[in-house]
């Protein structure tokens, strides 16, 4: 068994957690103490998931998924005006969308482990199961979180060899939406779709329906943009395109995040010396923008460490998943890998100004108990999968 990988799955997350706690204590004693309590709770969740045999979690994925869907619906129904992302339990708030991520990964891995299923069955079943939490979270509204489910869905299919014949149908329509604002990019997409159809030697029906879909979305998106999107959603996207022009709202935060990072320089301003956190600059310094506030105080050296740790964690996750022979374990590992890649890219990408303010946590570092608990569970599952794989491997040899 790969001791180094197991170590990577414990030491790297622990280091990230510690770095997050250090930064939280610099921002506010209150957040630090609460997060420390969550860290202890998460450690026991980690132990639970790594000690119980995987076949149990394989079965238990269904109830976890169903409960999370129920909670998502409850949060939607019980919330007042404003975002309805949380359920209140006594003095703690819990974000059911985080639990849904765990539920989806488990249930998707279970379905993928059945090797007799046809590609189209996998595509539809996983798609439907992703669509439910996707719709419930987008209604909260929480766009960035809802995309998580699509991301995991798509990359699981991709890594499990679903034919490009189907994948094109999954990828091209969203791309059509994105490129609809730029005629040139849209043209390139259209030509690309055409070439793809020729390359895989698709029939006329396939080509026509793919191209029609792309055209339809390409022309309807600008209409929806003007008519259906909420003003604040539009504002977020616009602010992302030209943050300097929008000094308030989300553009303000993106600009301030960049000033925080940039003014940190190579060595940083030092622990507790960041001036950007706090109300006038980075209101979400402890959540969405913890990377920026960390980078301000610990500089490029600190940010680079975050990059290297996440790079290492994701590489180790994907590589060890790829080596697993058992389909369930492999799907589980890839699902977890997809989770980490999305969260790292979306969160850090936002901090660096690549995306509008998104609202997904940076794993292990962002303040909040729900995502930390789920991440501990994911790591526990990963360790368990590695252990079981290596013991079965030995028997085979």
């Amino acid at each position: 068994m790969q001791k180094s990988e197991i170590r990577a799955f414990i030491i790297i997350p622990f280091t990230l957690l510690a770095m997050g706690l250090v930064e939280l204590s610099s921002i506010s004693q209150f957040y630090f103490e609460r997060q420390l309590a969550w860290a202890f709770f998460s450690a026991s969740v980690f132990a639970l998931f790594s000690l119980v045999p995987l076949k149990f979690w394989k079965a238990f994925g269904i109830p976890i998924y169903l409960i999370s869907i129920l909670f998502l619906a409850l949060a939607l129904m019980m919330g007042g005006p404003g975002p309805r992302r949380w359920l209140q339990f006594g003095s703690t708030r819990f974000q059911p969308s985080e639990l849904a991520k765990l539920g989806y990964i488990l249930i998707a891995a279970r379905i993928l482990s059945n090797r007799r299923k046809s590609q189209i069955a996998l595509l539809l079943q996983l798609g439907l199961l992703a669509l439910i939490p996707f719709l419930l979270t987008i209604a909260e509204p929480d766009l960035a979180t809802s995309v998580t489910f699509l991301w995991i869905y798509f990359f699981l299919l991709y890594l499990f060899d679903i034919s490009p014949f189907y994948l094109a149908f999954l990828v091209m329509p969203p791309l059509a939406v994105i490129t609809s604002f730029s005629p040139i990019l849209f043209l390139i997409l259209f030509v690309g779709a055409l070439l793809h159809s020729r390359y895989i030697k698709a029939g006329l029906a396939y080509t026509v329906s793919l191209l029609t879909l792309i055209l339809l979305l390409g022309f309807s998106t600008p209409l929806i943009w003007k008519k259906a999107l909420k003003p604040y959603q539009r504002e977020r996207v616009i602010a992302f395109l030209a943050p300097e022009k929008y000094r308030t709202g989300s553009g303000w935060q993106i600009l301030q995040a960049r000033i925080a990072l940039g003014s940190g320089g190579f060595g940083g301003k030092g622990y507790g010396r960041g001036t950007q956190k706090g109300l006038s600059f980075l209101p979400a310094a402890h959540t969405d923008f913890i990377f920026s506030s960390f980078g301000e105080e610990f500089g490029f050296a600190g940010s680079l460490l975050v990059f290297l740790l996440f790079g290492g964690l994701i590489y180790a996750t994907l590589r060890s998943s790829f080596r697993m022979r058992d389909r369930f374990r492999r799907a589980l590992g890839f699902g977890i890998g997809a989770y980490f890649t999305y969260h790292f890219l979306a969160n850090v990408g936002t901090n660096l100004g690549f995306f509008p303010v998104a609202g997904v946590p940076l794993p292990f570092m962002t303040y909040g108990g729900s995502h930390l608990t789920v991440e501990a569970a994911l790591l526990g599952l990963l360790i368990r999968a590695l252990k079981e794989e290596s013991s079965s491997y030995r028997i085979l040899e």
Partner: protein, 566 residues
């Protein structure tokens, strides 16, 4: 093994994006560092927290008890302050400033509320010496009637360390309710602070106001109480010649607290402006304890008022017929080889139940106590639930103290608890202690058979929770007849509570006090056949309840019922 092309391409895709982000990070943190550093330093925008208007507190008729007035607040930008500057400022403003808690701290820190116009001008004249100062006008709490409402309304003050820990929304310098209604309804009253923004230069001097649009504060909500302003002020005037006492009145039909008066008190206006630690210590150590809310946290022996409970228990157990005269009072009662005295040395003779209450004959109730027996007596008393908090919507309420058998067994040993204890308890002396609110609640319960949990916030009738007296209905009718005689009977002990045109029913009490003169107690309700007010008056160290507490209660009842007619 899976498809290695797919696996590799995914890995490459991720690391390509990872690398792209890294390049961007290098650009921001290393290549453009100087430019961003300049922006961070030059573009110093400092937020100043703007306190919201606290909701007003109104009495039952909508008259204002607490609102706000504008004051000058002086704040300094901690990170720009200097020791010399702060020392000079401290002299100009006549406040103690601890430089260690300010120098180098980020953001604006409040150093004085309620600065006078002279002080503000003297500071602004020396603007170049303190470029890091901000003078703002903020609302502060004003209590229109001061002290008499202190225990009810409470006061406001700066958040303490424990509040800051509990709620991340609080920031140092915020004002919150510290006691009474202010504390209980903090969330309703407080509103939400807003912000103004200032661009400052390297010295902390404001170079631009509102570089960002200000975030306006949100006003707190007004609340309407059940108390009557005039009744409260009238009570204060009646207590003028006494140093310590309590008056609590409620509407027995719905639990509305009409009067909530506890003396001594302090002026909440003074406390809310902030007082020095020394002054605070003095207040806490004062012997007459002005910070103690006697209405809900003062524990008193109920005295003869408790005979109502003893009587109710005995009648409910059918131990005595109210028309019978089971015992003759010749000034003392013998049980075993001990003698218990009646308060009237010459004796009351043979009395029925009603007249025993009227004249508060100790011997009659010694007799009832003995018939009930200690263990049963304690059990039945506890059925009234007064050992628990009643659940009034004010902080700091205490439950009454009603011991049970195990408590006595611990003190005397199992099987060695003297049966004679019940005699003292039966006339309200001894270990049992109740709050004035408990007594008022008990009176309301007797007056109406059932009553609602006492409360000071005006609420919808549907949301009330109700309590029933734990005895049969006709028992209470006998008690009420006795209480009527106390005020209206020929030999009644509470005749001084009589009011022209209104039938009052009541009970006097005199509580033994090891520290001095006895406390005078009086509990009453009126009108006798249609109760609209139940009241308890206690005058500490005054003497007999009938002479001191009953007249006050009578006047308060009269005032309230006459006002209600208008």
């Amino acid at each position: 093994m899976g498809n290695s092309v797919r696996y590799r391409s995914f890995l490459y895709l991720f690391f390509a994006l990872w690398g792209l982000l890294l390049l961007r990070l290098v650009k921001i943190q290393i290549l453009d560092h100087k430019q961003y550093l300049k922006q961070a330093e030059k573009n110093y925008i400092k937020p100043l927290r703007v306190p919201p208007l606290r909701g007003k507190i109104l009495d039952r008729k909508g008259r204002v008890l607490a609102d706000w007035k504008p004051i000058f607040r002086i704040s300094v930008l901690g990170e720009k302050t200097t020791k010399e500057g702060l020392t000079e400022l401290s002299g100009l403003l006549h406040v103690d400033i601890d430089p260690d808690t300010i120098i180098g701290k980020p953001g604006y820190i409040r150093i004085k509320d309620g600065a006078s116009l002279e002080e503000v001008i003297s500071v602004e004249e020396r603007e170049d010496r303190f470029p890091w100062i901000v003078v703002s006008t903020v609302p502060t709490r004003r209590y229109l009637y001061g002290g008499p409402f202190f225990h009810l309304l409470g006061y406001t003050g700066e958040v303490g360390p424990s509040d800051l820990k509990r709620n991340p929304e609080f920031k140092p310098g915020d004002i919150i309710g510290k006691s009474g209604v202010e504390k209980k309804y903090e969330e309703v009253l407080s509103g939400k602070p807003g912000y103004r923004f200032y661009s400052v230069d390297a010295t902390g001097k404001i170079i631009e106001t509102d570089p960002r649009p200000p975030i306006p504060p949100v006003k707190g909500r007004d609340i309407v109480l059940t108390v009557d302003r005039d009744l409260q002020l009238y009570a204060d005037s009646l207590f003028r010649e006494y140093r310590r006492g309590v008056a609590v009145a409620l509407d027995p039909r719905n639990g509305d607290i009409l009067l909530f008066y506890s003396k001594p008190y302090v002026d909440p206006n003074v406390l809310s402006m902030g007082i020095s630690q020394e002054e605070w210590k003095k207040l806490v150590e004062r012997k007459d304890n002005p910070l103690l809310d006697r209405c809900i946290a003062g524990l008193y022996p109920p005295g003869s008022i408790f005979k109502l409970v003893t009587g109710a228990i005995a009648l409910d157990l059918h131990l005595v017929n109210p028309q019978d005269r089971p015992v003759t009072c010749n000034g003392a009662y013998r049980m075993g080889n001990r003698i218990w005295r009646c308060w009237l040395p010459s004796g009351h003779g043979a009395l029925d139940f009603y007249h025993a209450i009227e004249q508060s004959c100790d011997v009659y109730f010694y007799y009832l106590g003995q018939k009930i027996g200690l263990a049963r007596f304690l059990k039945c008393v506890r059925n009234f639930g007064l050992q628990e908090k009643l659940g009034i919507d004010l902080p700091g309420e205490k439950g009454g103290f009603i011991p049970d058998m195990p408590w006595y067994e611990e003190r005397y040993g199992k099987g060695r608890v003297p049966e004679g204890l019940v005699l003292n308890l039966a006339i309200g002396q001894g270990e049992i202690l109740l709050t004035p609110l408990d007594l008022a609640f008990l009176t309301a319960l007797i007056a109406m058979d059932s009553t609602a949990t006492p409360h000071v916030l005006k609420v919808d009738k549907k949301s009330l929770s109700w309590h029933r007296a734990p005895v049969e209905r006709e028992v209470l009718e006998h008690i009420r007849r006795g209480m009527y005689l106390v005020v209206n009977g020929e030999k009644g002990t509470g005749r001084s509570a009589q009011i022209e045109g209104i039938d009052v029913a009541g009970k006097t009490g005199t509580a033994q006090n090891p520290h001095g003169k006895e406390h005078a107690l009086f509990a009453a309700y009126a009108p006798y056949r249609d109760p609209k007010i139940a009241i308890v008056v206690i005058v500490e160290n005054a003497g007999h309840g009938g002479s001191y507490a009953a007249p006050i209660a009578g006047k308060l009842i009269e005032r309230y019922l006459k006002d209600a007619e208008k």
